[in-house]
């Protein structure tokens, strides 16, 4: 018998707590596969956010920290500076990264910190029950934008990949999605590339991943995948925004 698929060694055996159809789990697996394939598990240090992925330290089979809400890039900065030989990654949601942690992420990028940020954009605050995120789309109904996000009151959704690609310190900035198999494969490639660019020491790396939250979007898992395609991708175009070559 030949094993054709197995749990990556970089993931523990703990059962994910994510809701049915949530794509956080796919993204975890992709990170795990990349760490395995680059042989980085024993070298990696991961930092999880406050958000639905707050328990990710139970899922990644490497040294892990749990950060205060939004502060993972500051924590990653110090770890990487003090231990430049480690591979350091953060895993952050949109509230964590683009709202409360906007300062930390922008400055980590400006300083060119040699870390990899996996940014899960699901256009909502999943963990706290579906409030508006900085990435919530115009017109999108959430519990704190009950009449739909209105540009006159709530302003515009944050395009983090575009924003951070402007910074000289950014070496690799890419936006992908995990709404279909082709995009999942592209996402894995992007995470791998980001980790490799970190290893080369070229600067700050981030992969923004469009992800689903069926629970708080009020959609079935399949409809949620369509919503990514129909609503999110038109506003958040996929692709590489910055690739620094050495």
């Amino acid at each position: 018998m030949k094993v054709i698929a197995r749990r990556p060694e970089s993931l523990t055996e703990a059962k994910f707590h994510y809701c049915p159809g949530c794509t956080h789990g796919i993204i975890h697996r992709l990170i795990g596969e990349c760490l395995d394939e680059l042989n980085l598990r024993e070298n990696a240090i991961g930092i999880c956010p406050v958000g639905c992925a707050v328990l990710a330290y139970e899922y990644f089979n490497c040294d892990m920290l749990e950060a205060a809400h939004g502060r993972a890039p500051a924590i990653a900065t110090a770890i990487k500076r003090l231990q430049p030989n480690n591979t350091v990654f953060t895993y952050q949601g949109d509230g964590d990264l683009a709202s409360i942690g906007m300062g930390e992420i922008v400055h980590a990028s400006l300083r060119g910190e040699k870390i990899t940020v996996v940014f899960v954009n699901n256009a909502i605050y999943g963990m706290t029950g579906g409030q508006m995120a900085p990435t919530t789309l115009l017109g999108q109904v959430t519990t704190t934008s009950p009449y739909g996000r209105n540009k006159d009151f709530e302003g515009y959704p944050a395009k983090m990949a575009e924003l951070l690609s402007q910074n000289e310190g950014s070496a690799y900035i890419c936006r992908t999605a995990v709404n279909n198999p082709a995009n999942v494969i592209k996402t894995k490639k992007a995470i791998k590339k980001a980790l490799q660019i970190q290893q080369q020491g070229l600067g700050f790396t981030m992969v923004e991943i469009l992800s689903t939250c069926p629970t708080n979007w009020g959609l079935s898992p399949l409809d949620a995948l369509d919503w990514v395609e129909e609503k999110m991708i038109p506003y958040y175009p996929l692709g590489e925004f910055k690739v620094k070559e050495d």
Binding site: C62, L65, A67, A74, Q83, N86, G103, E104, V106
Partner: protein, 351 residues
């Protein structure tokens, strides 16, 4: 060891380097900035890391990350910046990460001023951030102690896996005094819990989330046990002419040196007055106070605040003697002022 003339903030920074600190993360604020500036000059030459963070929030979280690697790291700030750090200090306390946090204190509330004050006493000694935790607080009173306490601070932080704070009035940071240099610390403790990459061992996890109420309570008991053992073993105070004192003045930091001068003058006038200087603000040296109650008829708290430490003195005295207060804010009382206050009380009470 040679004697050198040093500014308080620089002595503290050098003390930290002597203690093996190789990571400094801070954001400029008067009157603490010389510590960051000194580290910015020195650390890169020692293979250390200096980062000027974008805010005190980021700085304290860099300390969280830095301490997680097991290395000796620190930050320094003043009032408004220390307030911003409180979120991080709470996380650091629960994650049990040893580190040094320095408050070169100034007057508040709000932006306040840049003149020296001791009005962050409550914030420093009551935890400061959310949750049931304490930080040990050392209060130096000389430039020499700025250096010495940096070393002691790191030792205590490692001993208890806990953040340690040094709180010193801005004046102490800014003034120069000759001090005796110290030998560099060469032996640092092992930290098998640190996140360094899990080669050859199980992954380490640094975490403060405890969703089970039972486990959260267990964690809190664990922390409290640690604080109890700090309270048992680490209370420090200097007592000066308290044996026969009818009036005991209590003051900390540079303020205590000024009080000492006034006490000596009053003694020359035949007043039986003494002084207690808490060196650890938390754990508060209540036994030194309790001992003094045997002869003392009255206490006088002198603080550069509207009266904060006086609450701890009252708790220690437990109603057995009255505790009076003399304080100013942003303005350090001078020896003459305190002398007059001592004499006023002595005459009124007939000591």
């Amino acid at each position: 060891m040679p004697k050198v003339l040093m500014k308080g903030n620089e002595a503290l920074a050098e003390g930290a380097i002597i203690a093996g600190c190789r990571g400094f993360f801070g954001y400029p604020i008067t009157p603490s900035s010389e510590i960051a500036e000194y580290m910015a000059r020195k650390l890169p030459k020692l293979n250390g890391v200096f980062v000027q963070a974008e805010s005190e929030l980021a700085a304290i979280n860099m300390v969280y990350g830095g301490a997680s690697t097991g290395q000796r790291v620190m930050t320094a700030s003043s009032g408004p910046g220390i307030s911003l750090k409180q979120e991080g200090i709470s996380f650091i306390a629960e994650a049990e990460l040893p580190c040094l946090i320095v408050n070169i204190s100034r007057g508040g509330p709000g932006l306040g001023g840049i003149q020296p004050a001791q009005s962050d006493y409550f914030q420093a000694t009551r935890g400061g951030g959310h949750g049931d935790y304490r930080t040990m607080v050392l209060a130096p009173s000389s430039v020499q102690e700025m250096m010495d306490f940096a070393v002691t601070g790191f030792e205590l932080a490692d001993k208890y896996r806990s953040p340690v704070m040094i709180m010193a009035e801005g004046t102490l940071g800014q003034m120069m005094e000759p001090i005796i240099m110290r030998e560099p610390v060469t032996k640092l403790p092992e930290k098998p819990w640190a996140v360094t990459g899990c080669r050859g061992r199980k992954p380490n996890i640094i975490n403060t989330l405890h969703l089970s109420a039972e486990y959260l309570e267990e964690r809190n008991h664990h922390l409290q046990n640690k604080y109890t053992s700090m309270a048992l073993n680490e209370k420090r105070a200097e007592s000066f002419q308290t044996e026969d004192a009818e009036l005991v003045v209590v003051a900390f930091g540079l303020m205590a040196r000024i009080v000492k001068k006034a006490v000596m003058e009053a003694r020359q006038q035949g007043v039986k007055v003494g002084m207690i200087r808490p060196i650890t603000l938390w754990p508060f040296p209540d036994e030194a106070i309790r001992q003094a109650v045997n002869s003392a008829k009255r206490f006088l708290a002198v603080e550069i605040s509207m009266g904060q430490m006086i609450e701890d003195i009252r708790l220690a005295v437990a109603g057995r003697a009255p505790v009076e207060f003399y304080g100013r804010i942003g303005i350090t009382p001078n020896p003459e002022e305190i002398y007059q206050e001592i004499m006023r009380i002595a005459q009124r009470e007939g000591y």
